[in-house]
């Protein structure tokens, strides 16, 4: 399709090469598309009859100048026929457009659903590697291009093919000599259309890219506004933005030039046909080789032909973009999740009764970097494990691996005695309440956010009692009293902005509401002050007691009662044991603990003052 312009005019079938797997999505739409094409054929047939009727009327009028009588009837008949055909053509064309455009929209709808469903299956590694903006642009812009290819693109392709096939035949029928003349500019037109559509494609891609660069820069300015103000970086950042903005202007004007050359050029080439008719056709009529009516009809057909020709350039662009878009969409669709359910037979029987956790020589690699290196520990059901260590040591990686957000080698982790990779994901994650480090909340009410994991009961209703219990345990009750609508307060990007500590506690409540057998809290209380943290931990004690829990904590004081403490540094377990054992060992833990005590001392000084 990209290289062969003739393929476009000759067929309205989907080219086989770049689009193998889109076919099954297109198949249900085929009846609609075919019917639409039939409608198009019918509407074109009617449209083509009209100049013929005009020709008949004019020639009758010419003849009538000599022999009056019966003339009036013919003209009236043709006029009525033209009106009737026009109305019929309008009705049928409406249907052809509705049928084909809707087919395109259906493909878009289905593909977007497919794509999103697929994204839900793709593993954490994929989502880390692909920025949200990039995936979004595939879900919107690229799918839009695919849709344009199957809607208007297909319609115009079929239309052009039909119009060409019929009109050229009629033209030849009217005057073969004149047809030869009239079609002279068309090869040039085709070459021009291809040349310019390629230039326009390159130019518009350049613009899209520059827009992306500008957006990133603006995003950075807004995120780093404090540094910009402190360091009076306004002039620097403004200069940077101005440079990007000017580059955008340059690229935009390149597109303007291409477009500015192209669109009047096509309008003029359309007119050039008329010129040839006037010049060459005039001679034909004067020399008696053609009637005036024939000439008028010829001109009308030529005009009919001019639009599909103009559209050809547009169609080429639409198909190019459509295929480029489909390639980008397919890239996502063919990406297989690296983390998937075990074969049905193996996973079906798995139930986690006694949630013990055991890791044996667990290693995790992300993008070629080894983030965890041979971590081993064993945690009996009901016990509490604390993971501590410097920033970037691999604490979050470890708990992410336990919920299979990272690839894990078979046999490296066993939960309740089952190999982690043999447990169906839904079974595994259904047993785990996880409060991730960045307390991401959705634009929904506080209650909906807390009940995020328990809403799926078929009817989508929330167990409010459970939500309230979880909120209470997470120490949210006083905050909820202040929020404007309590549990019904809308939070998230489009709602009220909660403080970091509040967000963390909502995320904590979300994990608790699931009433899981295994609870994982990744630094869930780092943004609340030490006093509140102590209170929440006290309240959590009975909840933790019945469950297997893993706590990652910033403040070591919060985890020193854990059954077992794992000290991780640079992906390895450097120490493990109880608080007392580790303090005695005088290693990293003891050193971190002392540093923290200093800070605690200073804070406590003021806190109690």
């Amino acid at each position: 399709m990209r290289e062969d312009p003739d393929g476009i005019t000759d067929t309205c079938a989907v080219p086989s090469d770049p689009l193998p797997s889109i076919r099954h999505r297109l198949r249900p739409e085929l009846p609609g598309i075919w019917l639409g094409c039939v409608c198009l054929a019918a509407t074109n047939a009617l449209a083509l009859t009209i100049p013929w009727l005009i020709k008949g009327a004019i020639d009758a009028l010419r003849a009538g100048a000599r022999t009056a009588g019966g003339l009036h009837a013919l003209v009236v008949r043709n006029a009525i026929l033209i009106a009737a055909f026009a109305v019929g053509q309008a009705l049928i064309r409406t249907w052809s457009r509705i049928l084909i455009f809707n087919a395109g929209r259906n493909v878009e709808y289905q593909l977007r659903g497919d794509l999103f469903r697929h994204l839900l299956r793709l593993d954490g590694g994929f989502h880390r590697r692909h920025p949200t903006g990039d995936v979004m642009s595939r879900l919107t812009n690229d799918l839009g291009s695919v849709r344009a290819m199957f809607g208007p693109g297909l319609l115009n392709l079929c239309n052009t093919a039909l119009v060409y096939a019929t009109t050229v035949w009629l033209l030849v029928h009217l005057s073969p000599r004149l047809t030869l003349f009239a079609l002279l500019p068309y090869p040039a037109l085709l070459v021009g259309a291809r040349l310019f559509s390629r230039r326009m494609y390159a130019a518009s891609r350049g613009i899209q890219e520059q827009l992306g660069v500008m957006s990133t820069s603006i995003q950075e300015d807004l995120a780093g506004i404090a540094v910009i103000k402190h360091y009076t970086l306004e002039p620097t950042r403004e200069a940077k933005f101005r440079a990007l903005n000017d580059e955008y202007l340059t690229r935009a004007l390149a597109l303007v030039r291409a477009r500015g050359t192209l669109s009047p050029l096509f309008a003029v080439l359309g007119g050039a046909g008329t010129l040839i008719v006037l010049w060459a056709g005039g001679r034909e009529v004067i020399l008696g080789r053609m009637t005036v009516g024939g000439l008028v009809a010829f001109n009308a057909y030529l005009v009919l032909l001019s639009w599909p020709t103009i559209a050809l350039g547009w169609i080429i662009g639409v198909w190019q973009r459509g295929i480029a878009g489909w390639v980008r969409v397919r890239e996502l669709l063919v990406t297989e999740p690296r983390i998937a359910d075990p074969p049905v037979a193996a996973g079906a029987a798995v139930t986690i009764d006694s949630p013990s956790i055991e890791a044996r020589n667990l290693s995790v690699e992300v993008d070629g970097r080894r983030l965890l290196d041979g971590v081993s520990f064993s945690l009996p059901a009901g016990a509490t494990l604390a993971i501590v260590g410097p920033t970037g040591a691999g604490k979050t990686t470890l708990v992410d691996a336990l919920v299979r957000m990272h690839e894990v080698a078979p046999g490296a982790v066993r939960i309740g005695g089952h190999d982690l990779t043999q447990i169906p994901l839904a079974t595994l994650r259904g047993q785990i309440g996880y409060a991730p480090q960045d307390a991401f909340l959705f634009s929904a009410t506080v209650a909906e956010n807390i009940g995020f994991g328990i809403a799926d009961r078929g009817d989508g209703t929330l167990d409010l009692e459970r939500v309230k219990r979880a909120a209470e345990a997470a120490g949210l009750t006083p905050d909820l009293a202040i929020l404007p609508d309590g549990y019904d307060t809308l939070v998230g990007e489009r709602g009220l902005t909660l403080s970091g500590g509040q967000r963390q506690r909502v995320a904590l409540a979300r994990a608790l509401a699931a009433e899981p057998k295994i609870l994982i809290l990744d630094d869930s209380l780092s943004s609340v002050d030490a006093q509140t943290e102590r209170e929440i931990l006290t309240r959590l004690k009975p909840i933790l007691a019945g469950r297997t829990s893993i706590l990652i904590a910033h403040r070591l004081a919060a985890v020193k009662d854990a059954d077992r403490i794992l000290v991780i540094d640079r992906g390895r377990v450097v120490e493990s044991g109880t608080h007392v054992e580790l303090m005695g060992a005088g290693g990293l833990y003891a050193s971190l603990y002392r540093t923290e005590l200093d800070a605690e001392a200073l804070a406590a000084v003021a806190g109690a003052a």
């Binding site: 839900l120 344009a148 903005n245 477009r259 669109s263 957000m405 259904g430």
Partner: protein
């Protein structure tokens, strides 16, 4: 029929989907006079180009309108009467009209877009500068996402108005007037007859305009909702997966996706119907013309040429009327976007405006003076309450206090990110409100816990806007604070790439870069918010050394989390619930014994240390 008849690609349903629709649906008038005036202000600098572009509009139309007239001339004076002589001249004139239309058309489109793009370029820069000049409290309130939309897609939407809106609307009107003049000039009776369908056409267009507009408004609302949902769930994918909620989220998305699909179906129907009806009306008009004209030709009161010219003119007349609804929608979107952009430009919340000129500096006053300072982010909730503090040049003051006690607020007040509700802050005896904020901020460097790094090079992140700094100076600064390790571990050295937000640097490294950055600035006053995050002991020692180097010979205020820092301070200020509870040196505060809060609690914590140690020893 005219070339209108198969024009499938030009209508609205074919347009690729627009960029992300704005989240708010502020759809006002398509032509708001005040807004137009302001938009016009941005293209006024290019008034010469604008005048030429507008002046070209009638020229383009004239060349276009001349063509059917020449056709009429050719038919009536040559073809129909069989006179070959002079047909060449008419043909040449036709060719001239074509070329003229092309040249003028290109110039007009190019100039219009040039003006539009330049105007948007100016507007974008203006909005960017304006946003950077807004006060910190504005950014506290306004979500980043909303500002992003204003600065990108809204301005893009405005640009659409130039690309396919205002000027082409004017061009259409000129063309319509010219066609009317031409046909009435050629044969007013036939013109009157053929215009008979025009009111019907206008009526239909008006009726459909509302339908199409409503359909498109619905599409935009649904699209905005769908994009918001996608964006959010892609960002929160980890949560969705961790809670195994994929199937529920998929169902929710399907409902939203289907909603959008249905909105599109409505628009397709409306658009296809409008398109086809206009076309049918056009064909009926031609049929009527033929019938009426035919009768007159038979009666000898009309020539073929006139009839042919009229058919051509009618075709040219219908196209703009049909496209009116599309253009109207574009204009409306652009106006709504313009309104939002200008609302942002009208936000007058300047960052640190000068209250009065700086008075002559008083002699022998403390360098930094907080004089009964009262402040809250919200007026009814004071964070600092009547805080007084004075710091002499060269002094190091450590501020300690619990989270939320107001420590970080003091940091933000000194460089005047916020203005006070009561009291005054003086630097070198001058009220900060009387100092040029940029000059003031150049004297103060703030190193915060959460170090922000810009994407670019390591060099740019240390020099941070100071182009005068040489590599040698940057390296010296880095070495003094112990950040040379950060540079040395990267093969590209100072050219090492920094990714967005510095994700490819560890927290400890980011701290050291921030120290180097501060030292390279060589400020008079240093404000340091020590990081609480635990890093490995090696980095910890490097940071401790860096802090020491940074504070040497400078007036420093440190929000302290490290005992070493506190011990180094010449004075410790204990902030509690927005007030100064105690102040003095570490030794002096300790010497207060049991009567001093600091001393009492410090000792208690030390006992804690000892207890842990003895526990461990057991």
């Amino acid at each position: 029929m005219s070339r209108v008849s198969t024009n499938d690609a030009g209508s609205t349903a074919n347009k690729p989907p627009g960029r992300r629709a704005p989240s708010e649906e502020l759809l006002g008038q398509a032509l708001d006079r005040t807004l137009l005036k302001r938009i016009f202000g941005f293209v006024w600098p290019y008034k010469r180009e604008l005048i030429v572009a507008v002046a070209l509009l009638p020229v383009v139309s004239l060349f276009e309108i001349a063509q059917p007239y020449l056709l009429k001339k050719a038919i009536d004076e040559h073809i129909a009467v069989g006179r070959l002589a002079g047909l060449d001249r008419v043909g040449l004139a036709y060719l001239g009209a074509l070329l003229g239309q092309y040249a003028a058309g290109f110039a007009q489109i190019y100039l219009t877009q040039l003006i539009g793009q330049r105007g948007m370029n100016t507007l974008r820069t203006r909005v960017h500068e304006h946003v950077l000049s807004l006060s910190a409290s504005f950014f506290d309130r306004t979500p980043v996402g909303r500002l992003m939309t204003r600065m990108t897609s809204d301005i893009e939407a405005l640009n659409e108005m130039f690309a396919s809106g205002l000027v082409s609307l004017l061009g259409d009107m000129i063309r319509l007037v010219f066609i009317l003049v031409a046909i009435f000039g050629i044969d007013w009776k036939l013109a009157l007859f053929s215009m008979g369908t025009a009111p019907v056409l206008f009526g239909i267009a008006a009726f459909f305009r509302r339908w199409v507009r409503d359909a498109f408004r619905e599409i935009r609302t649904k699209l905005a909702r769908m994009n918001a949902f996608l964006q959010e769930h892609l960002s929160g994918m980890k949560v969705v997966q961790a809670f195994a909620q994929e199937s529920r989220v998929d169902r929710e998305f399907d409902a939203i996706n289907l909603d959008y699909r249905r909105a599109n179906a409505r628009a397709i129907t409306a658009d296809a119907a409008l398109y086809s009806i206009v076309e049918a009306v056009g064909a009926i008009a031609v049929a009527g013309l033929l019938w009426h004209g035919g009768n007159r030709i038979a009666g000898g009161t009309l020539t073929f040429g006139v009839l042919v010219a009229f058919v051509e003119y009618l075709g040219k007349f219908f196209a703009p009327i049909r496209d009116l609804s599309t253009k109207y929608t574009v204009m409306q979107q652009a106006m709504a976007a313009a309104e939002r952009v200008f609302t942002l430009l009208d936000t007058t919340e300047p960052d640190a405006p000068l209250v009065s000129a700086s008075p002559a500096p008083r002699a022998a006053c403390p360098l930094i003076e907080l004089d009964h300072v009262t402040f809250g982010y919200r007026a009814d909730r004071p964070v600092l309450d009547d805080v007084s503090l004075s710091i002499a040049a060269g002094e190091t003051v450590a501020i300690v206090g619990a989270t939320g006690a107001g420590k970080s607020t003091i940091i933000k007040l000194l460089p005047r990110l916020y203005d006070l509700q009561g009291g005054a802050i003086r630097i070198g005896g001058a009220d900060v409100r009387t100092l040029d904020p940029r000059a003031l901020r150049r004297r103060i460097v703030v190193v915060s816990q959460d170090v922000f790094m810009f994407s670019g090079t390591l060099r740019a992140n240390i020099a941070l806007g100071d182009d005068a700094l040489t590599d040698a100076q940057i390296l010296v600064a880095a070495r003094r604070v112990g950040a040379e390790r950060v540079i040395a571990t990267r093969p590209e050295g100072l050219d090492a790439r920094v990714l967005e937000r510095g994700v490819n640097f560890s927290a400890g490294e980011r701290q050291l870069v921030a120290f180097a950055r501060a030292l390279a600035r060589d400020p008079e006053i240093l404000i340091l918010d020590e990081a609480t995050a635990s890093v490995d002991p090696e980095a910890e020692r490097a940071i401790e050394r860096g802090i020491g180097e940074l504070m040497r010979g400078r007036t420093s205020i440190v929000i302290a989390h490290r005992l070493s820092t506190v011990k180094r301070a010449s004075r410790i200020v204990v902030i509690h619930r927005g007030r100064v509870a105690e102040e003095g040196t570490h030794e002096a505060l300790l010497a207060r014994g049991e009567t001093g809060i600091y001393a009492r609690l410090y000792r208690l914590q030390m006992v804690g240390h000892a207890a842990s140690a003895s526990e461990a020893a057991e």
